[in-house]
């Protein structure tokens, strides 16, 4: 790990200003992804701004009947929150499907959104990776790509967003609230928060340097069966090969987002009208532009079958 200086600011604005003014500075919250990457010198910040002391750790009802989740609410606490369990089951289920108990105790709501979109070649510093080292090439394109993106990728990168929580946030139409170094707040719809790789895969999100997430807000609950179905290589503590976050009525109508298939949670709202017609009608539209590799084309079949299982669960 490269050496770094460290500070604990006392307000969100001060934290944002500290990262903005210090070259190669980063926020640290739970640290479970950042420190992992720092040990491999994939991330080499020269200054860490510890945001753990900033408060931002409460879950409050909003005037609109929704929920405002502080950036530092731990994954364990969010999944266990009574309102989340009752009204946003898809979110509780997604959180509980992710990582391990130890990691969920540390990982935060904002940090979960900011975990790096990544692939095994991003982790292997002996390999070319445009995300880790812009311009170096992509070893994954002709490499082992079984776990990687089937849609939304580019010639530069086919990494997948590894998160579960973000897929639920996408189907719930969450909004990310931030503050910048000048103290200005903005709200980013979750659909516009994560980026596709394009020719700049080193950027996972549309946050500006020094912009700090303060909260994630959820609109009022959507009625229906809340489902998070995750298919993986082992029963626990593994990334999704494909996941489905859905809120469905008995007739199959509702909303659905997919995880494990793209550089960001994947949702095509226009296809949701076809949900009552069955899974194939939806996935044929959601994945119409898919460009799978020879190793991961199975994900298209798996996505259809996982959605089919979710629809059966909702109808039961």
């Amino acid at each position: 790990m490269k050496s770094f200086t460290y500070e604990r600011p006392s307000s969100p604005a001060e934290a944002a200003a500290a990262v903005a003014r210090t070259p190669e500075a980063k926020f640290i919250a739970g640290g479970t992804n950042l420190l992992d990457l720092m040990k491999l010198q994939i991330e080499t910040p020269r200054h860490l701004v510890d945001v753990n002391g900033l408060g931002l750790d409460t879950v409050e009802p909003t005037d609109e009947g929704g929920l405002r989740i502080g950036a530092l609410v731990r994954n364990t606490d969010l999944a266990a929150h009574p309102r989340v369990r009752t009204d946003y089951g898809v979110l509780a289920r997604a959180l509980l499907a992710g990582a391990s108990g130890q990691l969920r105790n540390k990982a935060t709501t904002a940090g979960n959104l900011l975990q790096r979109t990544r692939c095994p070649y991003f982790y292997d510093t002996a390999q070319a990776c445009n995300k880790r080292q812009p311009g170096s090439g992509c070893s994954a394109l002709d490499g082992v790509s079984r776990q990687l993106a089937v849609i939304g990728g580019s010639e530069a990168c086919i990494a997948t967003h590894p998160g579960d929580m973000a897929v639920a946030m996408r189907v719930l139409d969450a909004t990310v609230e931030t503050i910048d170094a000048a103290g200005a707040a903005r709200k980013i719809p979750i659909a516009e928060f994560h980026r596709l790789p394009g020719d700049e895969p080193s950027r996972d999100t549309n946050l500006e340097p020094g912009e700090l997430i303060t909260a994630v807000t959820l609109p009022k609950p959507v009625v229906g069966t809340h489902i998070y179905r995750k298919v993986r290589d082992r029963a626990s503590y593994a990334y999704a090969l494909v996941s489905v976050a859905a809120i469905l009525g008995k007739d199959g109508s509702g909303h659905v987002a997919f995880g494990g298939v793209a550089h960001k949670p994947w949702r095509v709202e226009a296809a949701e009208a076809d949900l009552p017609k069955g899974a194939k009608a939806v996935t044929s539209r959601v994945f119409a532009d898919a460009k799978p590799t020879h190793e991961n084309a199975y994900k298209l079949t798996l996505a259809e079958r996982t959605l089919s299982a979710a629809l059966n669960q909702a109808r039961a």
């Binding site: 050496s3 200086t5 420190l35 860490l48 364990t76 266990a80 369990r85």
Partner: protein, 186 residues
Amino acid sequence: MVGATATAAATRTDEPVLATVTFTVNGQRRELELDTRTSLLDAAREHLHLTGSKKGCDHGQCGACTMIVDGRRINACLTLAIMHQGAEITTIEGLGQPDHLHPMQAAFVKHDGYQCGYCTPGQICSGVAVLEEIKAGIPSHVTADLEATPQVTEAEIRERMSGNICRCGAYSNIVEAMTEVAGARA
């Protein structure tokens, strides 16, 4: 604030940056001056000579380093020691000692919940915290009804312990040990 703050504006060298941190480990107040890079695990093992917590993968995948910090189990390898100013930290040494075993330690001995023993301190710290998590009503991936109180079942234990790897494969005996402790307490 910590000592490192003053040097925040310094230009980059690969020189170590030192900072001080004070926390309570197994009931004892400890003050350390550490390289900012020092993980909580390395602080315990290399600086406090509490070598019960083990370094397996050093990347949060194996759970051998699990400690209980402010009542929650965490991977001590994936957190910086200096981020724990004022924290209450319990390692395997603080749970029990050979002449005064924690009930979970005794149950692991009784049920052969280990073979080589390397993952065991992490398994035991995790196991103790898992039972507290169930008692606190925190749901898991296998909890059928999110609005019901989770119960101590084999499926719950196995799911909740998935962040602790045992390459000797003592899992079924670990489940038995935890089940016995949960039952004895109920």
